[in-house]
Symmetry: C2
Subunit: 405 residues, 2 copies
């Protein structure tokens, strides 16, 4: 069998599988312990009433011969693409049209698949630490080079450290990348680039003819007015930036599955147009997002939907703030929690996994080791605001006690 | 920009987009004409009541804090994987376990993505004509070589003609392929391989250490007892065959989106296990099929669900039989329609696209040109049984009149 040998280069298993296995082993040995999970970025509040109503209505349509929907348009229903263009972009003065929006089953698929549009020898740059899908999907495609288990780096990947020493702001790389992944607000650090800081990257990408792959999955959590909700708020981004968006974190769709990617028509070269290539990929390897889910997505933009999901975001942000404030007060060094549901702790002298084990076995709190997000995540740790408020407060109390031990 | 240059090698656009554009142009010019669409393989009956009930129940669960479901397990919920293993496999004496079943958003995605697990220099063999996704997804990955617009073939693809001269039964290739795509019942010809004929391919694959990528999306339409519903009915298939299955055609899920792929653990080489690689791909580039859809899939296997979807399949099969019998009677040469919703006509002296135009502009019937499915599809044409019975009968009458002109 001629297998894709690059898969075998991936070290270990996907971060969250490893955490799941460790937690299961501990829980099996300690069944009486009540763990609090602030690890994986999964939401916990149920889907909002306005969206549930839309889902029921769409299901009824599917059960009626005169309103049944078969194959959806590959790129998404117009009703949703137009609403997104208007509400998320044109109302923010971002010049994005409906036919530049591609509906999908979620930002993870899109972030993982987008690299297919580029040559195998395209060089990628990633913030470090960052969401692991960017690097892993490029490893699978043979674009990452060789893994060095000592440094935890890939030979052909340009790392942009985001650490306390640079206030978590990535610096322009010395070597020119073809693709630059930026996540803003960043997962896992919870830190942000302001519009001015993002402009530096847009200008750089244009000057170097690089493409920015901009993940805005957490834009609903932005509270600072100088942090942009979309990269298209920055002049010039239309010709160099792709944007990924998700319904998972603003509307609780982690189990519903819906997202979209924006590819302006201006990102072209002699070889072709990124927009047309992505359309072709959708037509060839995808059969469209379900009608039911797209109607649910539409309901997110209704007056009621907007209010209800806004309340959910506020709930999670209250949790994130409680974590940030509680731990800071207890003497932990932390960032995030202001424009993001994530709080990023420094683990001091402990490694990320040592801290994970300590937190699991002594405070009964599950978090995510920072080193799982890249080498510069070592000695950091991620906690999320996606639990219940009660559990979040209890987890913070437990961590305060741990600090006093 | 360093783009993936292989995308530019794909000729024209995806088959069904071209058809859609032609139909739209004709309809715009002739708004009074009532077209009957028997082209794209999309279902028309609404989702069955037992499934609608399950969808509503799942939506209610998503709206309740105590029954809400966030991220699904990457590979699918156990309730569905276990039911499939039991009902579709173990009850047919196919030795397939639940953890060899990977739930997804549909067979098209899986058929398109599976090639990623293989080396870029893996050589593929495809039946000709066949579902275009197999070849196109390999073209995009750089595995197909150069396109010859005269012959309509790719230099690095092994074609297995399925034409009237060989009773639509592919012959073993002279050159060894690494990957063999088989669709049974075949789309578009509607013809089948019996268990005995399929055994030849399993034995060949094992002897040559090739992998069979077996698309069984139309298995629900099989009526002949000697045609297998799964490749695992054939001894030895566990070590050489991957199977794709869909809920689209047996339960009308074209707009609901649900499918699955079976990868037995025995398909291994020194380099790794195909099963583990696909699991890794799911974990890295996919976030699981929606809970709502997986509950709907489960309802397909309930007593009521089974009866209701069985009636839908019978309805479409009555259409297919009406097309096959009506056109045969009128002097068309046709196959299919017995184990498949598809009828495959010979277009005589006309090319496939000439016949398409004639049928569109003179009989007001939309079908699919056979040449769109591969070079050996030239001078053939596909009609589907997925319309309403009334429209199907009218379309056949129109085609009979056309034949008499």
């Amino acid at each position: 069998m001629k297998l894709n040998g690059y898969y075998q280069k991936l070290p270990g298993s996907y971060l969250f599988s490893t955490i799941g296995n460790k937690v299961k082993a501990f829980q099996d040995e300690n069944p009486e312990v009540e763990l609090i999970r602030l690890g994986i970025g999964d939401v916990t509040l149920p889907i909002a009433p306005a969206i549930i109503k839309a889902l029921h209505e769409a299901v009824d349509e599917m059960g009626n011969g005169s309103t049944f929907h078969g194959y959806a348009p590959d790129l998404g229903y117009s009703f949703l693409r137009e609403t997104i263009a208007q509400e998320d972009y044109q109302k923010r003065n971002c010049p994005i049209e409906a036919d530049e929006i591609f509906i999908s089953d979620g930002a993870k698929s899109d972030c993982g698949n987008i690299q297919e549009l580029f040559a195998t020898d395209a060089k990628i740059a990633v913030c470090d630490p960052v969401y692991p899908v960017y690097v892993d999907s490029n490893v699978m495609a043979g674009r990452a080079g060789e893994y060095d288990p000592v440094s935890g780096t890939w030979s052909n990947v340009i790392y942009l450290p985001c650490v306390r020493e640079n206030n978590f702001i990535p610096e322009l790389p010395k070597e020119r990348p073809d693709l630059i992944y930026l996540c803003n607000p960043n997962n896992p650090t919870g830190t942000t680039l302001t519009k001015e800081q993002l402009k530096v990257w847009v200008d750089y990408a244009k000057a170097k003819e690089a493409v920015i792959l901009y993940d805005a999955a957490y834009e609903a959590y932005i509270t600072d007015p100088d942090v942009p909700h979309s990269i298209y708020e920055v002049d010039g981004a239309r010709s160099c930036a792709v944007e990924f968006r998700s319904f998972s974190k603003n509307a609780g769709f982690t189990g519903v599955r819906l997202g979209f990617t924006v590819i302006p028509k201006e990102i072209t070269s002699k070889e072709g147009s990124l927009h047309d290539m992505w359309a072709r990929r959708h037509g060839t390897k995808y059969n469209g997002a379900p009608y039911i889910q797209q109607k649910a997505g539409l309901a997110v933009y209704s007056e009621e939907g907007r209010r209800e999901v806004g309340e959910q975001v506020s709930y999670y942000m209250r949790n994130a703030r409680a974590i940030y404030e509680g731990l800071t007060e207890a003497g932990y060094e932390a960032v995030g929690g202001i424009n993001s549901p994530y709080v990023w702790l420094h683990t001091g002298t402990l490694t990320s996994w040592e801290f994970f084990d300590q937190l699991l076995t002594k405070a009964y709190v599950v978090g995510t080791p920072g080193s799982g997000f890249g080498p510069s995540g070592e000695h950091y740790f991620r906690l999320t605001g996606f639990g219940t408020y009660e559990n979040t407060v209890r987890a913070v109390e437990r961590m305060k006690r741990l600090k006093r031990l």
